[in-house]
């Protein structure tokens, strides 16, 4: 079935110039004296305001790629340019929402969200207002004084999102942030992410192994292959938002991505 052309619209008119550029990136791990090429010939660009999904099966090197973009891990060769400047170490211009729970267990929800803001401003009132604003943006105002161990997995990822959005990063890197949530919560989180993205116009690089998630979110999906991890194909998802998975054009894209993942 072909996608109905009527459903295709200009998805993201805000997309502007390339902000992140990845050139011929390669990562080789040395394990017990032998070499494992995890990523090879990774080449792509991300435009400002774009929502990109990197789709690949587990173990294909998605996390490794993200860790290099974040500056936690040095590439074996190739280069990563943010606004034309090479990326060398972690920084608030590229924030990560991790797959795992990485909130500080000794800080409340609000303190976690405000963590990165400390040192940026000395104005206590502005500091507090900003923290409250992002608390309410992710719908956690009532839970501001809870500790991470007292809230659900979905709420934790809301905190993880808010604590980096508050820093206004140039690029938001997300590593399967909703993979461990139940289907309902995951859908809520996807909608939340989309609405935040539309309101705050961030550039987002979203890693996932879930085809439906990729079609729901992305302007563009980069499908990865395994051993070594490469970008096999780039697929533009020209669907108007909000996207419903029951719609035939949605199904067209998911089927297509499923096929690409399989072979």
């Amino acid at each position: 079935m072909k996608p109905r052309l009527a459903a295709i619209s200009k998805t993201s008119p805000r997309i502007r110039e390339t902000i992140l550029e990845i050139n011929n990136l390669r990562k080789v791990f040395r394990i017990n004296g032998s070499f494992l090429t995890v990523l090879d010939g990774i080449d792509f660009g991300v435009k400002s305001g774009e929502m990109i999904c990197i789709l690949g099966r587990s173990g294909c090197g998605k996390t490794t790629l993200l860790r290099m973009l974040a500056g936690f891990l040095a590439p074996s060769s190739g280069e990563i340019l943010l606004n034309g400047k090479p990326v060398a170490k972690p920084g608030t211009d590229r924030c990560v929402v991790f797959q795992e729970d990485t909130l500080f267990p000794w800080l409340t929800v609000k303190e976690n969200i405000a963590f990165g803001l400390r040192g940026r401003t000395t104005d206590r009132k502005a500091f507090d207002e900003e923290a409250e604003r992002f608390l309410s943006l992710v719908g956690l105002s009532e839970f501001r004084d809870y500790l991470p161990r007292e809230i659900s997995g979905g709420m934790k990822q809301r905190v993880a999102l808010a604590r980096v959005l508050i820093l206004k990063p140039e690029v938001l890197l997300m590593d399967e942030p909703f993979a461990s949530l139940d289907a309902q919560t995951r859908e809520e989180m996807q909608n939340l992410l989309l609405s935040l993205w539309e309101n705050l116009s961030h550039t987002i690089l979203f890693v996932t192994h879930d085809v439906t998630e990729a079609v729901t979110l992305a302007d563009r999906v980069l499908v990865m292959s395994k051993d070594p991890g490469r970008i096999r194909e780039e697929i533009h998802v020209d669907l108007a938002r909000p996207r419903k998975w029951e719609k035939s054009d949605f199904l067209f894209f998911s089927r297509k991505l499923h096929e690409r993942l399989r072979d």
Binding site: F104, W106, G119
Partner: protein, 269 residues
């Protein structure tokens, strides 16, 4: 589930629980003394102990041997423990944290520290007496030496077990090394640090008495030693009980003040 219901013990019973063993012990002791099973020169009657304790703590100095010495002795001992324990923290915490995080530091010092740790604390006594003479310095040295190891080892373990993703998250949020140490490393290691401090303080009391047994004029260890020479077993027992009570109170005070000072101590234990 019904099973859970069964495990619930009413509040008052829980309050009493810690006192069950001391109460049983004292009762048994009473019975043994009353029946004369054990001669009083080996184990005085509890009432005798209570009387000796009263005199030691509340009587006017000079009224009787050991009368009213308590404040003086307890004060002297507290100061020695505090200084020795303080030194142990000053060296043990930073070295432990560094050795837990920096493999270079760990490689450099851990072998030596473990070798030193293998030496029983009491073997330092003769050396300390030659270096520092008899008195406060020897005692402080012994206390510091003994308390150092649990503080160091637990701080190192605490720093080592921190989830590296927390540190990465910090780096990504623009945290520099200094702030990372105080805002992530220390709180993350806090449960281990607390364990180390409590063990360290506990062992401090043991080495305090050891140091004071060498013949200092005052202190709880000195009282016990004096009493032994005079054959006053009641005072020996009083000294032991006072050390037990002060040790327990010190532990409680340590826990409470850590919780008062640090969010991480309040929220993670």
């Amino acid at each position: 589930m019904i099973k859970e219901e069964n495990t619930i013990i009413p509040g008052p019973a829980l309050q009493i629980l810690p006192w069950v063993i001391p109460a049983l012990f004292i009762s048994l002791w009473m019975i043994v003394s009353e029946t004369g099973l054990i001669p009083t020169y080996l184990m005085p009657h509890p009432f005798e102990i209570a009387k000796a304790g009263w005199i030691y703590v509340f009587a006017n100095p000079g009224d009787a041997p050991f009368a009213g010495r308590f404040l003086d002795d307890a004060g002297a001992s507290l100061i020695r423990v505090a200084i020795g324990f303080g030194f142990a923290i000053i060296f043990g915490l930073p070295l432990g944290i560094m050795s837990g995080r920096l493999s270079l530091v760990q490689k450099l010092i851990s072998t030596s520290i473990n070798a030193l740790r293998a030496v029983p604390g009491i073997s330092w006594l003769p050396l300390a007496m030659i270096w520092f003479g008899i008195g406060i310095k020897t005692t402080v040295f012994l206390v510091a030496m003994a308390a150092f190891f649990p503080i160091y080892l637990n701080a190192a373990a605490g720093a080592r077990q921190i989830n590296p993703l927390l540190l990465q998250a910090g780096a990504m949020m623009g945290v520099n090394r200094l702030r990372g140490t105080f805002a992530i490393l220390l709180p993350g290691a806090m449960p281990h640090i607390i364990t180390g401090l409590r063990l360290g303080l506990g062992i401090s009391w043991a080495y305090l008495v050891l140091g004071e047994l060498t013949g200092v004029p005052n202190g709880l260890g000195a009282v016990i030693m004096d009493a032994r020479m005079l054959g006053r077993i009641d005072i020996i027992v009083v000294g032991i009980i006072i050390i037990a009570v002060m040790g327990r109170a010190g532990d409680q005070l340590l826990k409470t003040s850590l919780k008062f000072c640090f969010k991480s101590a309040r929220r993670m234990s």
